[in-house]
């Protein structure tokens, strides 16, 4: 084989080498001689700045602002973009020590060289102003705008809940959360997290060597605008809420006020409360630890989570059930000798006119009467057995929303306890228990336990003469129809006709000419209907209980008040409820002397408490 063109291999070789030489010259110019590319590279620093969405604002029913956002500044650091800087100056500006600086930078390095870490959280706006001017001296640092919750009224901490940073567990479990994000942890902030949180955005900036932002990277192609969270309007009346919290100062307990015609919660007080500002920002962890360690449990939302006996206030429900089941009617009378005694068991009553029918029995809160009708119900032959009779009774009780969660829009609501018949089967043996053993439930003591919100709801059901709307706290959410099935009536198993004698009794208890247990709650012209109670407390002094609604016709507010260790219902709970009703319906309080007495009452500081209790005892009649 002849190859005439063998020499062409040299030309081909040269053709390969030539452009390569050109490349090398070009690279030499590009990389070694020309400084402009190095300069371009240093101004080619990308900065991803998260645009945190401001959470939605929260208003009360009258449009008063309850929660808003305040800007704060986090100082961020990207370790890979750090250059030499004056550490002393930075420490001075930020009022930190060198140790903190070194520690945070090495922490950030360990996390990522190229992603930003928080260097110092929540810089004050004064420090920020100083820092902003000198930031050009500190490449790799930048300021990130954040918002923190702020509370103009310092009220409703339990309702609003608080916001905290997400932890590793939440990031793993929930979509869309990253380190440093906030999330609602309790209250409305938690229940309506989805609506409130908005959507984070991102801005990508080009930054030059002097730490100046040169503009958006690729003309904002990678920017994502943040979407502000939706505002929420609560059904809370800030004035009433605030007043309720004030009245409950130095007391332990709860107030829940509901609008019966809608189920909207007007006030929800748990005492002792705390200032919501305590759980915001850098101080949160420390304050939280202190609040959690407090033996009075200020973080505990008693309105939803405290289990109390219903107390005598429960007699109204027993009365309704007995009439519904045909055990008595409004005219059926029982004689009261001042006590109810069967064998060795005695339930004491107190002196009142006798015999009594339903309205008077409620008015004077006659134990004897209710023991009779309760046992008559359980033992009635038409049920075949006490167990069956008890089940009929328990079903009626549950129809008032007791014993189950109301599924209102709060997290952590508790169920209360309406014992099922199996509970007694286990306790006494099947079919081996009698109505007598359960008789304490006739007067709202015993195994039955309720939460304050359940009591308020029960009162609303009575005020409505037989139905209630699930109590709820959110009235309106921006950009949402908020249809959470709270507009549906829940009917009790009691026919509306049976409510009049009971309500008549509640009206008499407050407004009656004589023998009313709650006359301290009377306000001229407001037609308050109420029922006192005393919840037996095996651990100490009894709890003062009061339920009420007003006006009698076309009720606008239903309320339950629990004051722990305050004794009789008429002592503390009834005046508090009455003051709130007055304030809500008339906008003012006429009985300053009563208000002063409540405000000065102290059941936390024991010494003051004992004097005020004596005063109370002498003041009104007992249950």
């Amino acid at each position: 084989m002849k190859d005439h063109y063998s020499d062409r291999k040299y030309i081909i070789g040269a053709m390969i080498v030539l452009p390569v030489l050109f490349f090398i010259v070009r690279l030499f110019i590009l990389q070694v001689i020309d400084p402009s590319y190095k300069l371009s590279a240093s101004s080619n620093v990308l900065r991803n700045v998260t645009q945190y969405a401001a959470r939605g604002l929260i208003y009360d029913r009258n449009g008063e602002l309850l929660v808003y956002n305040q800007p704060v500044y986090d100082l961020m650091v990207v370790p890979g973009q750090l250059a030499e800087f004056d550490t002393v100056e930075l420490c001075q500006i930020l009022e930190i020590d060198r140790e903190y600086l070194d520690q945070e930078i090495s922490k950030a390095r360990a996390y990522s060289m190229f992603r930003s870490s928080v260097f110092l959280k929540q810089i004050s706006s004064r420090t920020y102003a100083v820092l902003q001017e000198k930031l050009y001296k500190f490449p790799g640092f930048y300021v990130q705008l954040r918002t923190l919750r702020s509370y103009p009224n310092d009220i409703a901490a339990h309702i609003l809940g608080y916001v905290g940073e997400v932890d590793g567990r939440i990031i793993d479990e929930k979509q869309g959360y990253a380190m440093g994000d906030y999330i609602g942890i309790t209250g409305i902030e938690a229940t309506y997290e989805e609506e409130l949180k908005g959507e984070k955005g991102k801005n990508v900036f080009l930054v030059d060597v002097h730490n100046r932002i040169m503009g958006s990277y690729q003309e904002g192609r990678y920017n994502i605008p943040a979407v502000v969270g939706n505002d929420i309007t609560l059904s809370i009346d800030a004035v009433i809420q605030k007043y309720g919290e004030k009245l409950m100062q130095n007391k332990i307990g709860s107030i829940v006020a509901v609008e019966p015609s809608t189920g909207e919660i007007l006030a929800l007080v748990s005492a002792p409360a705390y200032n919501p500002e305590l759980l915001v920002g850098r101080v949160r962890t420390l304050n939280f630890r202190q609040l959690a360690a407090d033996t009075l449990k200020p973080l505990f939302n008693r309105a939803l989570m405290a289990h109390y006996p219903a107390g005598s206030a429960f007699k109204v429900v027993n009365g309704l059930i007995a009439m519904q089941e045909g055990i008595v009617n409004e005219h059926t009378r029982h004689t009261c000798p001042g006590h109810y005694t069967v064998g060795r068991l005695t339930v004491r009553c107190r002196y009142h006119t006798t015999p009594v029918a339903m309205p008077e029995a409620i008015q004077v809160s006659c134990n004897t009467y209710f023991c009779h009708i309760f046992r008559d119900l359980l033992d009635h032959p038409k049920y075949g057995s006490v167990t069956n009779g008890y089940n009929v009774w328990a079903d009626h009780v549950r129809s008032f929303g007791l014993g189950e969660r109301l599924e209102a829009d709060f997290p952590n609501e508790l169920r209360g306890f309406v014992p099922p018949s199996t509970y007694y089967d286990r306790f006494y043996g099947e079919n081996r228990w009698r109505s007598l053993q359960l008789v304490s439930m006739a007067i709202g003591q015993g195994e039955l336990s309720v939460t304050p919100i359940q009591m308020a709801n029960m009162t609303a059901a009575i005020a409505n003469r037989g139905y209630y709307y699930t109590p709820h706290i959110v009235r309106n959410i921006e950009n949402s129809d908020n249809d959470r099935a709270f507009r549906e009536e829940n009917f009790t198993s009691i026919d509306s006709v049976w409510f009049e004698p009971v309500i008549d009794g509640m009206h008499r208890a407050v407004n009656g000419p004589d023998g009313g247990t709650a006359r301290i709650a009377q306000v001229q012209g407001l037609d308050i209907c109420g029922k006192t109670g005393t919840a037996e407390n095996p651990h100490g002094d009894d709890h003062s209980v009061f339920i009420a609604f007003a006006p009698k016709d076309n009720p606008q507010i239903a309320i339950s008040v629990y004051v722990e260790n305050a004794g009789f219902g008429s002592a503390m709970a009834a005046p508090i409820a009455s003051l709130i009703i007055e304030k809500y319906l008339t906008g003012e309080v006429t009985r300053k002397w009563l208000e002063d007495r409540i405000l000065s009452a102290d059941f936390i500081n024991r010494e003051v408490a004992s004097t005020s209790r004596q005063e109370n005892l002498s003041d009104e009649q007992e249950d």
């Binding site: 081909i12 040269a14 490349f23 070694v32 590279a41 990308l46 060289m113 003309e219």
Partner: protein
């Protein structure tokens, strides 16, 4: 021939070593380019670098398989392979997966196959088969037609996908034809005018002139094979140009650069032409004529592009030139790529320390722009070394091709050289901003299994022929 030759003993291990080093450089460069702190392990197969390692292992298995295959198979079935590849190129137009508005890929589970990559191999084999036919006259019109068809049939099909980058590579086969006797003029004009058309739209005038001078030098070498005369002519030309530019600079600094350049080159050409006449060197005057023609052609391309073409035609050309996936105006990608490489300096920022390639400034940083990572992190030293490695490989392959006793093997060898060379020149040229953005990978370095395997098969078929070259009689 029944003598059994030990392939492993006769294998050109030097080339194999260079090949393996390149794969390794590619792998760690990809690791650096897409480095993600959440996936720090270089073996993490959810990431590109982990996948590249899988492709590399597969490539080595494929290489071994090629070496163990009887090389006569490639010879006898070369047309058959070619036919199958053409069918695949047709099939991909109908059944291919559409990515970025072009149908270039077959998707098989997690693996993507690009028939165009294998079309290069098949064309190389078919061309070698045809050209090694005894008594073939290369300038015979029927032979030219057949060769043209072998080369341009796949080009046509690949353009239909459309994948301009891959189709351009096939023009490299002209180099093979040149080696086998095709007149140098074809190659010369092809290179000159092909590049001028593109470069006229891309480069500023200074680069243009530099390139023209180099082309003139090459042309002179091809025609005259007299380096001394060529160098003298170019030197005279350059001096005159400089002088004219200098006069302009002093006398009328505001003059448009184009006017300056045309005046300078025309003046230079006239002087050279006069010199040529005095020395009775008509070849020199031919060269000058060529130079002027090239200049005029260059400016006419610009003129036609700017003034004659309709906007939609212009945008089509922009697509061809790769300008269209360029959101920030025509020079964004190139600029970012140049900044990344330029910021590397003499010795680079160090492995994994690059900032430009880390922060997503550079597009396609693990595939077409992988050279940026090397340039940024290993600097001038590193990029020169990589380029040197490529030159070494290509020259080594010329040496291997030339020592083949069979014409088939030699032609095939030159095909491989041409393809690797084209990829290399276009890819590096693109990243340093002297070739338009044409998306083709850097052989053995860029991320992707399909191209790596195709190049591996190409290279190892040559090595297989080389290992048994003694079997062929003189």
């Amino acid at each position: 021939m029944s003598r059994k030759i030990n392939i492993w003993a006769n294998l050109d291990w030097m080339t194999v070593l260079v090949y393996l080093v390149m794969l390794f450089i590619g792998w760690i460069s990809i690791y650096s380019a897409v480095y993600d702190e959440e996936h720090q392990s270089i073996f993490d197969t959810t990431q590109r670098y982990g996948k590249q390692l899988i492709w590399i292992i597969a490539a080595i298995v494929i290489a071994a398989a090629v070496l163990l295959t009887d090389n006569k198979l490639f010879l006898f079935f070369s047309y058959f392979f070619y036919a199958i590849t053409i069918l695949l190129l047709i099939a991909v137009l109908f059944f291919g997966t559409e990515v970025n508005a072009s149908k270039s890929w077959f998707q098989f589970g997690g693996i993507q196959i690009q028939p165009a990559e294998f079309a290069k191999l098949a064309t190389a084999l078919a061309l070698a088969q045809f050209l090694s036919t005894t008594k073939l006259k290369i300038h015979d019109s029927r032979a030219l037609l057949t060769m043209g068809s072998i080369i341009f049939l796949p080009v046509l099909l690949i353009l239909l996908q459309p994948d301009v980058g891959s189709s351009l590579v096939f023009f490299a086969f002209i180099l093979v034809l040149y080696r086998e006797g095709l007149t140098g003029w074809v190659l010369f004009f092809f290179i000159l005018f092909g590049f001028l058309s593109v470069l006229a739209l891309l480069l500023n005038e200074v680069n243009m002139v530099a390139l023209l001078v180099i082309s003139a030098l090459s042309a002179y070498m091809i025609i005259g094979r007299n380096m001394k005369t060529a160098a003298k002519a170019v030197l005279i030309f350059a001096l005159i140009c400089l002088a004219v530019m200098g006069i302009f600079q002093l006398a009328a600094p505001g003059t448009m650069l184009v006017v300056k350049l045309i005046t300078a080159s025309v003046a230079g050409s006239l002087v050279l032409m006069g010199l040529a006449f005095r020395n009775k060197r008509n070849k020199a005057s031919l060269l000058l004529g060529l130079l002027i023609a090239a200049l005029l052609y260059t400016y006419s391309v610009d003129y036609v592009f700017d003034n004659v073409l309709m906007p939609h035609q212009r945008s089509r050309i922009n697509i061809v030139l790769g300008f269209d996936d360029d959101p920030l105006g025509q020079s964004y990608n190139i600029n970012q790529s140049k900044i990344a490489i330029g910021s590397g300096g003499l010795t680079g920022k160090g492995f994994l320390q690059g900032t430009q390639t880390k922060f997503n400034f550079v597009p396609e940083q693990s595939t077409d722009f992988i050279f940026c990572t090397i340039g940024e992190e290993f600097g001038f030293a590193g990029s020169t070394m990589l380029i040197g490695l490529f030159v070494f490989l290509l020259l080594r392959l010329i040496y291997l091709a030339e020592r083949q006793r069979s014409q088939f093997a030699r032609i095939y060898g030159y095909s491989i050289i041409s393809i690797l060379f084209t990829h290399f020149v276009i890819n590096i040229g693109m990243t340093i901003g002297i070739v338009p953005v044409i998306g083709i990978p850097l052989p053995f370095i860029s991320y992707g299994g399909s191209s790596m395997w195709a190049f591996t098969v190409m290279l190892f078929i040559l090595l297989r022929f080389d290992a048994v070259r003694m079997e062929f009689l003189r």
